[in-house]
């Protein structure tokens, strides 16, 4: 599965620019699903039809990642940018970014040698332009962070683990899923990082009876971390709540019982901030019981996000089992 993860995390796909990731995923699952379509907002919707009598389930993992959008080019060919999703200035400085056409830029800071914390207004992008010559990018072009995937053995590091690891878990589950009574819609969503937008419209279209988001969550296991009872390596996390949702207790219990039956490690997640596609599914139409299977991840929204490989594989196992049986909530 590491090969799949590597491909997904290294792909280019900031919010609104998910086309390359979509093509990649479509290529992996095409032929393995009964229907495959892309909606108006770019969500990739794949249906694995059930044998009948089950529920209509939506599994959502977002394809988009945080990034930058060029807003202005000054007279000396430096670019100013807006952020696409939550980009931390502290980890932005010195980072490299990559555009859809492959152009590379470096994030600079007006106050390079300073102990202050940079503000967005003080940052700029240097794409190696020489004054007077045509730049490879312009206003409106979008970049993602540029980092290769690193396999540390048990732990994996990359940009965009949030949420390509969720895409990898969903895609792997899709490939492993055998006959099931449930109609399972695997939805690879767009624009989560800018406000859970893709999941909102795809949930309207799919009209699920149950929703499961697959996303990363924060951990409390690093030095001086904000207290949080989630650690890398303790298994996939079953969300109880985050800043956008209180998970339907029935969905949460379904996840817990399935994990217990399988005898796989799991942990419960209470995330004080942040939001996930869960909320969009839960609030869709007249309301949908929804939950979230989370992959614990360190350094979220930096160019080096870290997950544990056992947690990832545990999530796939749990998801496949959940989707395989009749669902009673």
């Amino acid at each position: 599965m590491k090969e799949l993860i590597k491909k997904l995390v290294e792909a280019y796909g900031p919010s609104g620019q998910e086309g390359q990731v979509r093509e990649l995923i479509a290529g992996i699952i095409r032929g393995k699903v009964d229907e495959l379509r892309t909606d108006n907002l770019g969500n990739l919707i794949a249906l694995k039809k059930g044998t009948g009598g089950g529920k209509r389930v939506m599994v959502a993992a977002h394809m988009d990642e945080i990034g930058l959008i060029v807003t202005y080019m000054d007279k000396k060919s430096f670019l100013r940018f807006g952020t696409v999703g939550g980009v931390f200035t502290a980890t932005a400085v010195g980072s490299r970014v990559r555009f859809a056409n492959g152009a590379i830029g470096v994030i600079g800071w007006e106050k390079w040698i300073s102990s202050e914390k940079p503000t967005h207004e003080e940052l700029y992008l240097d794409v190696g332009g020489v004054p007077g010559s045509q730049l490879p990018v312009g206003v409106g072009d979008v970049a993602c962070f540029d980092r290769p995937f690193a396999d540390l053995g048990q732990r994996l590091v990359a940009k965009a683990m949030d949420d390509r690891i969720g895409c990898a878990v969903a895609a792997q589950a899709l490939l492993e899923l055998g006959p099931t009574p449930n109609d399972v819609y695997f939805v690879f969503t767009t624009q989560e990082e800018v406000g859970i937008r893709g999941a909102l419209v795809s949930a309207f279209g799919v009209e699920p009876e149950v929703g499961i988001a697959i996303d990363v969550t924060l951990t409390g296991d690093t030095p001086e971390a904000h207290p949080m009872a989630v650690e890398l390596g303790n298994g996939p996390a079953i969300k109880v709540m985050d800043g956008s949702v209180l998970v339907h207790p029935g969905v949460k219990d379904w996840m817990i019982k399935t994990a217990q039956t399988l005898g796989i490690k799991y942990q419960l997640e209470v995330l004080e901030h942040g939001g996930t596609d869960t909320a969009a599914m839960q609030g869709s139409r007249a309301g949908v019981p929804a939950g979230c299977l989370s992959i614990p991840c360190r350094y979220v929204h930096t160019p080096s996000e870290m997950v544990d490989y056992d947690d990832v594989q545990g999530a796939v196992k749990l998801l496949v089992e959940m989707l395989s049986k009749p669902i009673v909530i």
Partner: protein, 349 residues
Amino acid sequence: MLLQELSDARGVSGNEAAVREVILGAVKDHVDEQRVDTLGNLICLRKARRQAQGERCPHRVMVAAHMDEIGFIVTGVNGDGTLRFGKVGGIDDRILLSKQVLVGQDSVPGVIGYRPIHLIPRAERERVAEASKLVIDIGATNKGGAEKLVKLGDYVSFRTTFEVFGESELRAAKGKAFDDRAGCAVLTELLKEDYAFDLYAAFTAQEEVGLRGAKVAAYAINPEVALILEGTVCDDLPKKKDLSPVTEVGKGPVISFMDRSFIADRRLVKLLLDTATRLGIPHQLKQGAVGGTDAGAIHLTREGVPSAVVSVPVRYIHAPVSLLSLSDLDHTVHLVREALHTLEGGLES
């Protein structure tokens, strides 16, 4: 001039009736159906008047502009006859001092007064007076007197005289609420043209307090494509640093690729840019990702709606007086009208 009538009309969010009346008067001979929905949106339909060329022509296109403006609402009457007020929409406290306002349906004149400089210690002068500590003076001397003129919940708008600045190069006009009466003026013009699809013109309510009217209007219209017309942020006066002006007055209509509320559909952005280039219409990209528009609500409707925003650049928005170029306004009408015709050929798939 329609823009003047629109600018003079008082329509703080939730109280758009006067603006609606002006628009109704201007569009009634050009639309086949019109209705006002529960939230106060004015939804006008101009049916297709030409044969669609090819199958890709959309059937229902929504073009939206919001009627409401920022302002205030009376939250209390003090014993001395002055009025406490709350802000409606995004208003910077620094712009409030010594402004003229009109209160309630009867347009009772008032001022947001302040103590004169003689009486203000130096330290206080360096601070911004908070809106919560300011009052509106309507010339009443006690609570009873004030309550004969106004009541709790009355809307308060800025009082601004519309004026065209003579023969200025920019063909500049100043007035209030160009955000988004400029868009309303453009949309009204667009209803005079014949298209190959049903054009739903949505003059929306309550944009400034959270894109509320557009949300329900788009749900009802269920469009296949949407264009949103705005009067947008402009910061083009000379600065010390070489930073983005966001938009520039006099440089033509503004095409957005992203703001806080939405990411534009790239096919529509391209269609707009191609149309402008082909016809030699001056235009500019919005060089910033700030602000929110009705597009934020419209593009998330039902299963999602491909959307784009075209704006008239306006200096000093969300202030008592803003400034735009009438040439920009004309070019915006031209661009959007032609872009709608281009859209008759469909969006790239």
